[in-house]
Amino acid sequence: MVPFAGYEMPVQYRGVLDETKACRKSMGLFDVSHMGQLSLRGEHPLRELQRLVTNDLSKLALHQAQYNLLCNPEGGVIDDIIVYRRTEEEVFICVNASNRLIDYAWMKEHLPSSVSLEDQSDQTGLIAIQGPQAEHLMSTLISPSLVQNLKYYWALDTHLDNIPVFLSRTGYTGEDGFELYLRERETEKVWNLLLEKGASFGITPCGLGARDTLRLEMGYPLHGHELSQEISPLQAGLFWAVKLETPWDFVGKQALVRQKTEGAPTALKPLTLLDKRIPRQGYEIVTTSHEMTGSITSGTFSPHLNRPIALGFVNRRHASETQFAVKVRNDLISAQVTSIPFVPSKVKKNTVK
C-alpha cells in the first residue's frame, strides 16, 4: 500500500503486468474511491459551468457525460474532469483526487451565487469494472437491457442489489467498461459482491500500477504528468476537447486561441522504445543529433507490446521528427514516435465529443 492524496492505495494486488493483461483479456476491478466528486445545482448549472471549461457543454444531453478541462487564464490545466448531466437540476463532476480542493475553491470563486457547489468526495465511493467481460457481469446484476443500452459516456442512476448506484459507461483503460459511483459506506459491500459474482468471468482486482499502465497504453494523459497548470490542453494534444469556435468565452480561451495561432512551445509525443529499460518521468529526450529537446512525463512497460512505452514533451522545433532518443542513466535509447493509442481501444464509440 502506498499513500496517495490522503488515501492508502494498493499499487498492485498480484503484479502489475498480470493485472494489466487480465483487464484486457477478461475484466479488471478497480477501487478508485480516492477520485473526487462535486455536485453543482441551481439555476442553469451547465450554462454557468460552461464559463470555466473548454469543451462544449451545450451538446450534452440529459444522462450524458463529457470529458472536459478546467483551465487557468494562461490556458494551463487546473484539472481534467468528467462532467455528467445527471438530472435536469444537477451537474455531477468527477475530478482528480489531488486537485479536488483546488478545483472546488476555483469553481466556488468563479461561479455565481445562483448555483451551489458541494464536495461529495468523502461520502462517495467509486469502483471501475473494465474489460471485455464487464458488460456480461453487469448484466447479471442490473437489468441487462439497461446495461446493454447504456452507451459510451452515458450514465444513469439505478440500483445494484438494492444499493443505489450512479452507473457510468466510462473508464481509464481503453476497454469497454463501467464506473460505479456509490455511497462510501456501501463501497466495500459492492466490491465484494462484484468479486464474488465476477469470479466466473475472470475478474481480477487491479491496483494503481495496472491502472497507470492501462491508461498509458491508451495514451490518456494524467494530471501531474502530461497536464498541469503550466501545460495547456493543446500542448497535450487534447484538441478534440477544446472548442475555440464557440460564441461564448471561458477562462483560458484567449490564451488558447493565441497559442493555437502562434503554436504551442512544446508538443506531447507518444514513444516506443527499442529496449527493455523503462523511461521514467524526468528522463531527458534528445534528438537524433543529440540535442536536448524535452523530457519524459510518463513511462511504463507495455505487456501487450512487450516493450516500454512513454509520453513526453519535445520542443516545437522538433515536433515533426519521428525518431528521438531517451537518456536512461548513461545510455541513449532509441525511441520511435508512435501513434496513440499504443494498443487498440475497445471502448464502444458512440460518444458526443
Partner: protein, 129 residues
C-alpha cells in the same frame, strides 16, 4: 512470507551470496523480487570485469522502480547468467536458482563475514515489514 534459504549469506540491500570455495554466486532475494514486482530489465557486468564490495555492479529494473545491485564481495566476474539477461522474469520466478546473476572469484573469502545468515536476514526483513 518471503523465502530465505539457509546456507546463504545476505546483505542489507537484499542480495544473497552462495560461497563455494572462493567462488561467490550472487543474486537478489525473494523479498527483493516481491518488493520490486515484475522485473523487465537487468544489467550485469561482463565476464572478466572486477567488482568491488559495497559498490554498485548492476541494475535491476521493474515496472515500478529502478534499483542498483550492490556487490557483497570484491573479485573478478567469472560467469554471467546469460539466460537471465534474455528473460529477466526468471528473477521473479526463481530468485535463488534460475535467477542467479553472477559468479565471482573472490579475492578475500572473509568478505562474507559481515553479512547476515538466514535467521538474521529473516528478522531484518520482518522488521521492514
Amino acid at each position: 512470507m518471503a523465502s530465505v534459504p539457509n546456507g546463504l549469506h545476505y546483505t542489507k540491500e537484499h542480495e544473497w551470496v552462495l560461497m563455494e570455495d572462493n567462488i561467490a554466486t550472487i543474486g537478489i532475494t525473494d523479498f527483493a523480487q516481491e518488493s520490486l514486482g515484475d522485473v523487465t530489465y537487468i544489467q550485469l557486468p561482463k565476464e572478466g570485469e572486477n567488482i568491488t564490495k559495497n559498490d554498485p555492479f548492476g541494475v535491476v529494473e521493474s515496472v515500478k522502480a529502478v534499483s542498483d545491485l550492490y556487490s557483497p564481495v570484491t573479485g573478478r566476474v567469472v560467469e554471467v547468467n546469460q539466460p537471465l539477461l534474455e528473460a529477466p522474469e526468471l528473477v521473479n520466478q526463481d530468485p535463488y536458482t534460475d535467477g542467479w546473476m553472477v559468479k565471482v572469484e573472490v579475492k578475500d573469502i572473509s568478505d562474507t563475514e559481515d553479512l547476515m545468515e538466514a535467521a538474521a536476514y529473516k528478522e531484518y526483513i520482518e522488521e521492514k515489514g
